[in-house]
Amino acid sequence: MTKSELIERIASKQKQLTAKDVELAVKGILETMSQVLADGGRIEIRGFGSFSLHYRVPRIGRNPKTGEPVALSGKHVPHFKPGKELRDRVNAGMQNES
């Protein structure tokens, strides 16, 4: 499912909001989430999961073409931990396939 399919699926179930409103809402939610993470914050959605930042220590990398060492500074990367309901539903989805 892509972002535009997500928008369509929500819009098809929405009685009040227009497809345009749903599009703006989905984009707004994603922008808010991105901004919170960019500011070093956490996101906690019960039954879905939590997003946070993990720190990667500085290290010496290599230019894959030349093999030359390159100093890489420490950085933060986004991390997602699925919540219980999401884990259980995804796993039940697999059990139901067989």
């Binding site: 499912m1 892509t2 972002k3 997500l6 699926r9 929500i10 179930k13 929405q14 009040q16 909001l17 409103d21 749903v22 703006l24 809402a25 989905v26 707004g28 939610i29 994603l30 808010t32 989430m33 991105s34 919170v36 993470l37 960019a38 500011d39 070093g40 914050g41 956490r42 996101i43 906690e44 959605i45 019960r46 039954g47 879905f48 999961g49 939590s50 997003f51 930042l53 720190y55 220590v57 420490g74 950085k75 933060h76 990367v77 986004p78 991390h79 997602f80 699925p82 309901e85 999401l86 884990r87 539903r89 995804v90 796993n91 039940a92 989805g93 697999m94 396939e97």
Partner: protein, 102 residues
């Protein structure tokens, strides 16, 4: 958001303030956003949100495990798990965060 982690209520509040959705509509669309993603993943369908990231599914085989307390061997059942791969744009936005190095 006041303090602590961003929640669904905070997201709905922003949609109310920034898009002028009424509070009930805002709350409902935030709920639907996460529910449609769960429903997609539940049917083994990957979710690709460009600019943000992808939610992928991975099937894990059964493997031997241990009860850490008793040391007893118990198999860990085959299962399906969700992984999140942040997109380039999100990674670039987060990389420069200069906060605590935890």
């Amino acid at each position: 958001m006041t303090d602590g982690a961003l929640t669904k209520a905070d997201m709905a509040e922003r949609l109310f303030e920034e898009l002028g959705l009424n509070k009930r509509e805002a709350k409902e669309v935030v709920e639907q956003f996460f529910e449609e993603i769960r429903a997609s993943l539940e049917t083994n369908e990957q979710v690709k949100l460009s600019g943000f990231g992808n939610f992928d599914l991975r099937d894990k085989k059964e493997r031997p495990g241990r009860n850490p307390k008793t040391g007893e061997e118990i198999p860990i059942n085959a299962r399906r798990v969700v992984t999140f791969r942040p997109g380039q744009k999100l990674k670039a936005r987060v990389e420069g965060y200069a906060g605590s190095e935890e």
